[in-house]
Amino acid sequence: MRAFRKYLTILCCLLTLLSMAASAEGSLNMNHDGFSTSYTYGYDYWQDVIESPDAYRVLTVIDSLNLGLDENLEGIRMNRPQSLYVRNSSLYIVDTNNNRILQVECEKERYTLTRVIKEIQGCEISTFNHPYDVFVDADENIYVADTDNFRVVMVDKDLNYIKEFIKPTDTNFDQNLDFKPRKIVVDVAGRVYALVANINKGLVKYEADGTFSSFIGANQVTVSTFDYIWKMYFQTQAQRDASVAFVPTEYENIYIDKEGFIYATTTTFSEYDLLWDNAKPIRRINSIGNDILIKNDRYPPIGDLNWLEGDSTYFGPSKMTDITVLDNDIYIALDRVRGRMFGYDDQGVMLWAFGTRGNIEGAFNSPIAIEHMGYDLFVLDQNDSRVTVFTPTEYGSNVYAAINEYKDGRYEASADIWRKVLKQNSNYSLAFRGIGRSYLKQNQYEDAMEYFKMAHDQENYGRAFKLYRKDWIEKNIKWVFLVLIVLIVLWLIKQLRRKMQWEVIMHERNEVRKTNG
């Protein structure tokens, strides 16, 4: 009996271990959601994950220790930093819980702390209280979203107070709410656009002199027909009041590109809206608040195309927590669910996706902000309090170079670089398309068709095919006519023979009739 019990215990232990191993296997696989099998990947025409060479590699990691902010060095470590900003060669890190902003100078791959912005001069409240975002304009004036002081404050480069942007007294703004600016951008004319917590009417826009101008870019409220009918005709007033109201969603983050358009991301949507591109997680907002993001690819820019259902930190669709736009209009969005970056060109075609969750270099715990300096990327992790610096690999640089050459109209040069890209990644459909276009420009239609076919580009294929068909007919017109003439002659001969046969028969019949009659 005792032996039996012993065996039972061992068996139980084994079973527990086995089940633990099974669950651990699931958790070790960092990509069990999102369906990716490699660090860098892309999607093909059929929505299948295509492994890709790395477009970016980790250059270095900036953390409190190598900035000299460690306790041992009599400093204060970064604590839940929330945002990044880059102006010229300076990187600004918003160290939210320490109420300060760190200015880091980047020179030849070396990152040194040059200034800690903690206090400002010429103002009643001279310190920050949980700042969430920073913006630096071309004259190096610094704008700080000083969230728990309910203001956006503007100082010059020597930290002298210039002005502040506070809660609008306008009736459009709900006066019961605290004014908590979370994200700010400033356009070239000095107009401030602030993303304010608990405001769903869009971005709060201020004129350069600090007066409230308007709300812009409010999210459209989308109601499905079914929901509408259900609410209007099948619910009582009490039920209607109790259920969630149709309200527009708030934005998650904003970025202003060099043309003054605001890129905004949103993370509140239902996952079914993504597939038909009703959710629009990434938007480009013009001055009257309309979304003008170009989407010319088969799939809209929504991050991962495959995911396991669910809404948590580990499952569900990509949630773009920040976005940055390179000088060549390529935008890179940061997904906080799986710690991935998605690069899209100006036509909305995905260039690559990379990243994962974890604690190793190039992986993130809780990514919160992304910025760029040239083609280098800075990604801020709020839990680890560190900035990972990515730099393009040879492959990544080739992709950028090919896109830039094409944008500048040098199709030949662009195609040559695309050929290099194809040697590194033979599944890259943008490269096929690029080479096809250059063949089309050189009037080599058949080659162009072949490449467009490989890129699944029906429109350009049609264009090449039309020219090819025209050429073919012009070249072979004599044969076409010859065949036509031969066919007509043959037909005529046949008709003639039939007619003659008929006449012979009629003649014979007449003969028979004559002899009979």
């Binding site: 059929w46 429109e459 049609g462 095919f465 039309k466």
Partner: protein, 231 residues
């Protein structure tokens, strides 16, 4: 010796004769099937009530229909049909058309035979196969035409394509109406119930196979258990 030879010779001749007769019959039936698609009311009536339909011709059209489908998937210009070739399984394509077709025929027969439909199963099958003719006649050339059209001329392609489908559906409707000697309303009613019937048949097949596999696993485990005990 001589006699046997002559007998053999005559057998040979008659065999050739019947073969020639068979070919002639096939050709005339083929011509009749073409007549049917342009004169559906007359054609389908004669098919069922004058026994003018031919099973061989019906098989031929069904085979051609499946062939057209496969050729279409493989050779239509990439501009009009972008098939994931890496996932394409020809047999899967064929059976995913053939099985529903046969199940619908069976379902229709089993319903109409209870509600004084005049058609025998072979009449229903023949009529349904004849109804597929426009698909073959239009879509087979379209496969080749698609390769000389450009993306901008796609409207021609789509119009012809939908025309062939509409024609097929119309023929199937008239075919069932004439074969069973029903009115249009009744045909429509039974057409709807045919679909329900097809679902029931599929359900029964699934139940049958799942029971079969259960029974198999029961006997397999029974055998395994018994063999352990006996050793």
């Amino acid at each position: 010796m001589n006699a046997t030879k002559s007998v053999k010779q005559t057998a040979d001749v008659s065999g050739r004769e019947t073969r020639r007769d068979g070919w002639r019959h096939f050709r005339s039936s083929m011509r009749f099937s073409m007549y049917t698609i342009t004169h559906p009311f007359d054609g389908f009536w004669d098919l069922a009530h004058e026994h003018k339909g031919s099973l061989l011709v019906a098989h031929t059209w069904l085979a051609l229909f499946l062939l057209t489908r496969v050729l279409k998937l493989m050779f239509t210009s990439f501009q009009f049909m972008n098939v994931a070739v890496q996932y394409l399984n020809v047999f899967e394509e064929i059976f995913s058309l053939l099985l529903p077709f046969l199940i619908l025929c069976v379902a229709n027969w089993s319903l109409t035979t209870l509600f004084d439909g005049k058609g025998r199963f072979r009449d229903i099958y023949t009529a349904m196969c004849y109804a597929l003719i426009p698909y073959v006649l239009i879509q087979l050339p379209l496969v080749f035409i698609s390769n000389v059209l450009t993306f901008e001329e796609a409207s021609l392609y789509t119009v012809l394509m939908s025309f062939s489908i509409v024609w097929c559906v119309f023929l199937a409707f008239v075919g069932l109406m004439e074969v069973h000697d029903y009115g249009p309303g009744r045909t429509l009613f039974f057409l709807a119930f045919t679909i329900v019937g097809a679902c029931v048949i599929i359900f029964l097949i699934l139940v049958f196979f799942s029971l079969l596999s259960d029974a198999y696993s029961f006997f397999a485990s029974f055998y395994r258990e018994a063999s352990y005990r006996l050793n």
